[in-house]
Amino acid sequence: MIDLGDLRSHHPELADALARALSHHAAIALQRRHHSGVELALSLDGEEVRVTLTWPATTNADAAMVDAKRATEEGAECIALALVGRFRRWRIERRLQPGESADWLLVNDAGERIVLEISGTDDGPFEARLRQKRGQAALAAARGLPAVSVVRFLEPRALLEGGSHDS
C-alpha cells in the first residue's frame, strides 16, 4: 500500500509545501473516478504488480479550484515519485529546470544518478505518450541513467522503466 498523502515518508528530502502540493493534486486527479484504496496496475520494467493507493479525501470544491491539466500532471509526479521511492529506493536529489529533457534527478543506492521523465494523462493514449517520453528521457542521458514513468488515471495504470544499466 502507498499513502500518497505521506510522500515525504518515501522522500524526506522534499520540501513540505512541495510534497503537499503534489499529494493534493494526486488526490484530486484520482478522485475524479476512484476512491482511496483503489488498486493501481503497475508495470515495473515489464513485471506486472498491483499496488493499493490511499490518499486523504478531497472535496468537489478543492477540485473546482485547481486547473484539471495541472492536477493530472502533478498528480502523476506524486505517484511516480512514490513508486520510485517504494520499489526502487531512489532518493530525490533535485528537480530539473524546464529544457533539461527530464523532470527529476535521483540517486540510487550505488550513488548513480537517474534522470526521470514523468508524464500523466487522464484518459489519453498511453503507449503513444510512453514512446514520446522514452525519446525525451534519452536526450537527458548525459546527466544520468534515463528512466520514464507514465501514469493514466482512468484505470488507474502506471509504468516505470529504465534507470539501470540493463535498460
Partner: protein
C-alpha cells in the same frame, strides 16, 4: 554516499522554487522573480560542486538559463564568462549556446526596433 547537508538544503529549495515557478504565467513578473531566485540558488550550488560533476554541470547551465528566463541577460552573460573558465567541453558547449542567447537579448536592448512612420497632414 552521504549527501552534503548544505547541498541537500539547496537542492530542496531549488526543487521547490522550480516547481512553483512552473505555475506562474510565462514571462510574468512572478515568473521572472522566481527565476532570479532559481539562478541565485543554482549559482550557490555551482560554487559547491565541480564543473565536471553532474550536479555541477546542471547548476552552471541552470544558473545561466534561469537568468535568461528572468530576463537578466547581463547576469547570464557574466555567469557564462565566469563558468567558461573551468568548464569541460560538453558544459562549455551548452554555456556558449546560452551565451549567444544572452548576446541576442542584449542586441535587442541596445538596438531597439525603431522604424519611421509616414503620415500626411491635411488641412482641416
Amino acid at each position: 554516499m552521504t549527501p552534503d547537508p548544505t547541498l541537500q538544503n539547496l537542492n530542496a529549495r531549488i526543487s521547490e522554487e522550480i516547481f512553483f515557478a512552473g505555475r506562474a504565467a510565462q514571462g510574468s513578473m512572478e515568473a521572472q522573480s522566481a527565476y532570479l531566485r532559481i539562478s541565485a540558488l543554482e549559482e550557490q550550488i555551482a560554487r559547491l560542486t565541480a564543473p565536471d560533476a553532474v550536479d555541477g554541470a546542471l547548476a552552471r547551465v541552470g544558473a545561466v538559463s534561469a537568468a535568461l528566463r528572468a530576463g537578466d541577460w547581463l547576469r547570464a552573460a557574466r555567469l557564462v564568462d565566469e563558468f567558461m573558465e573551468d568548464a569541460p567541453a560538453d558544459v562549455a558547449e551548452e554555456l556558449r549556446a546560452l551565451g549567444r542567447e544572452a548576446d541576442d537579448a542584449a542586441r535587442v536592448v541596445q538596438e531597439p526596433d525603431v522604424r519611421p512612420v509616414r503620415f500626411h497632414l491635411e488641412a482641416a
